[in-house]
């Protein structure tokens, strides 16, 4: 019987630690394994290191010696240039405007849905859960044309949207990101909630606790590890999302970083140092989130192995 979801400790330690496993391999040297892993690590790191190295060299140095050279000087001038020319302060804020509401909405709605389908037995329970899970597995391109047309034909007052429709607004991306991710989070959270003992809420029921109190005071606090893991994962996924903003937001000044870097690529193509600096800037928030919340992130991935 799997216990991974029933005990919160397991969630915060998704990977085997070195002391956990005592196998028959104790004492062996593994020279071959290390050699192989070191070679693979180098192969894996080269693209990243090359990007960072290129970004640190001013254009004068590369013009003179070429990109493939060890000549200095090194500095951050490419970063300041890329930041200004690429409008990164805007791009980052756009990502924040989209990611924060999307993640909060997704988790709030998915946890309610999961609560209803996992803690109560009624007719369409399974149908709904299947519908939500399947929705998340569809290729986004399948929904693209109708969503685009639906948003184009949805009128909004000009005080809310300067296009007069849902197109070219943050709302469009927030709505679709939320709709698309609810399925995945509902699936994971409903599994988690099913594993919590029924007695918890039955006892509260006897004491006269309403459904809302059961959800907010009993179930949600117990789901904190899963919600934290999903939240971390969703922040990174929605930050990394390229397709929906590409489709709905035509105004470059409103696009999030991941979509914006695509435009910068065209703009910076003649200057690889700037492109490398732009790529490095884009990756920094993900790395910060990852290193701060590494355990939650990895736990989230393994919680929901169904998501790509």
């Amino acid at each position: 019987m799997s216990t991974s979801l029933t005990s919160p400790e397991n969630i915060s330690h998704p990977l085997p630690t070195e002391t956990e496993r005592v196998g028959s391999t104790v004492g062996r040297r593994h020279y071959g394994t290390h050699l192989f892993l070191i070679v693979m690590s180098i192969v894996w790191l080269v693209p990243l290191l090359w990007t960072v190295y290129t970004s640190l060299r001013p254009k004068e140095a590369t013009d003179k010696y070429g990109y493939w050279s060890l000549h200095g000087p090194f500095g951050f001038s490419n970063f300041t240039k890329a930041w200004k020319q690429g409008g990164f302060s805007h791009l980052f804020m756009n990502s924040v405007y989209i990611a924060i509401p999307s993640v909060i909405l997704t988790l709030a709605l998915a946890s309610m849905m999961a609560f209803a389908v996992s803690r109560f037995t009624w007719k369409f329970n399974l149908t709904l859960l299947v519908m939500f899970t399947a929705g998340n597995l569809l290729p986004p391109q399948v929904l693209a044309a109708p969503l685009f047309e639906m948003f184009k034909h949805t009128s909004l007052p000009y005080s809310v949207s300067d296009s007069g429709t849902l197109l070219n607004t943050y709302y469009s991306v927030i709505l679709v990101d939320t709709a698309f991710q609810i399925g995945f989070c509902t699936f994971v959270l409903s599994n988690y909630m099913k594993a919590l003992p029924m007695d918890l809420t039955e006892a509260a029921m006897v004491d006269g606790a309403s459904v809302w109190v059961q959800y907010t005071r009993i179930i949600l606090p117990l789901c904190r590890p899963a919600v934290a893991a999903l939240g971390t994962l969703e922040v990174i996924w929605i930050y990394n999302d390229f397709f929906w903003p590409l489709l709905f937001i035509t105004d470059g000044s409103r696009q999030p970083v991941t979509t914006g870097i695509n435009n910068l690529q065209g703009q910076f193509l003649s200057n690889y140092s700037l492109l490398a600096a732009g790529a490095t800037l884009t990756v920094i928030p993900t790395l910060v989130i990852y290193f701060a919340l590494q355990r939650q992130f990895v736990a989230g991935l393994t919680l929901g192995a169904s998501k790509g």
Partner: protein, 322 residues
């Protein structure tokens, strides 16, 4: 002993009660709900369901509908019935369609037979008690955090004909035989696949590390006592024991290869050797010459192919609950 993955591991009986008792308890509870509780529950279900129906399933249905029409995307009154003509055009007269199908199949085979096994190999090696396992894990895992767009940009710097590191390492940079890895339609699909593998293998590694942790150690011990070698133990005992996670990985790999889009779009918008069905859908929807019917027909073809792994996965996951 099932996999560690809750996705496949946790069943309704996880709470250690018989289904009969569960149902009884459930019924009793529903009947005990006050009318206010029912309203609250109704709202908790209705809002997410409405969003899901309106923004995921309605568009899916509309895609199917639009695939039988001719429409330029302007006024709704311009929609004309087109029967099956979009499909017949796609199959018979649309030049990039069959290359895209071929590329999608290559994409799937490459991820399935190269990227995924690399991830599995890394997981198996790191699952042993070796020094620095955490450091190796972090290194292989870093690309998983990057968007596929960024993967495309970073590999652009690696692959560039004159400035990339690869041609420098090969000694061809600046010479006439230098290869433009992303620009040359003979090689760019493979170059893009190497970049996609860079990310996919780390993802598979993490999932398998979790799966390997869930394999009962006594299985390995028993195999060792019987004199099985490490390789035999893995293929005859450990790998079969990970059946649930293997299925998840197969489903992920298929769905990922059908969804592949960002990376080819960033390289050259999915043209010149990098045609994929997903990219063709978008080429027909955005830009000036919007051909909604054609784009929708392509989307429906993508949908039908995707439904195979999706239904397989759903049946496996939910069969026991119904």
């Amino acid at each position: 002993m099932s996999s560690d993955l809750p996705l496949v591991g946790v069943r309704p009986d996880a709470g250690e009660r018989t289904p009969a008792r569960r149902r009884k308890a459930g019924n009793r509870k529903v009947s005990r709900l006050t009318s206010r509780d029912k309203v609250v529950l109704g709202i908790m279900v209705a809002i997410p369901t409405l969003i899901e129906l309106l923004l995921v399933w309605l568009p899916t249905g509309l895609s199917i509908g639009l695939s039988f029409t001719k429409w330029n995307g302007l006024a709704l009154s311009n929609i004309r019935n087109a029967g099956l003509s979009n499909y017949s055009f796609v199959v018979h007269d649309y030049p990039p369609f069959w290359p895209a199908v071929r590329h999608n199949i290559i994409w799937l085979l490459f991820l399935g037979f190269i990227a995924t096994p690399i991830g599995l190999l890394l997981a198996v090696l790191l699952d042993q008690k070796i020094k620095g396992s955490r450091i190796y894990q972090s290194i292989f895992f870093t690309p998983v955090m990057l968007s596929l767009v960024l993967v495309g940009v970073i590999w652009q710097l690696v692959y560039s004909r004159d400035n990339g590191i690869l041609n420098h390492l090969l000694g061809t940079s600046g010479k006439s035989n230098a290869i433009d890895w992303f620009g040359d339609s003979n090689v760019n699909l493979w170059a893009a696949l190497v970049a996609a593998t860079w990310r996919h293998a780390g993802y598979i590694m993490i999932l398998y590390l979790a799966g390997l942790k869930g394999v009962d150690p006594s299985l390995r011990e028993a195999a060792a006592i019987d004199g099985a070698s490490a390789v035999q133990t893995f293929f005859r005992v450990v790998f079969p024991a990970m059946r649930p996670i293997n299925i998840v990985i197969v489903v992920i790999t298929i769905i990922e290869s059908l969804r592949a889009f960002d990376i080819v779009y960033v390289i050259n918008r999915g043209t010149n050797g990098l045609e994929l069905i997903s990219a063709l859908v978008i080429q027909n929807l955005v830009g000036e010459g919007q051909i909604i019917g054609l784009g929708s027909a392509l989307a429906v073809i993508l949908l039908v192919i995707s439904l195979v792994p999706i239904i397989f996965y759903l049946v496996r996951t939910f069969r026991k609950e119904s």
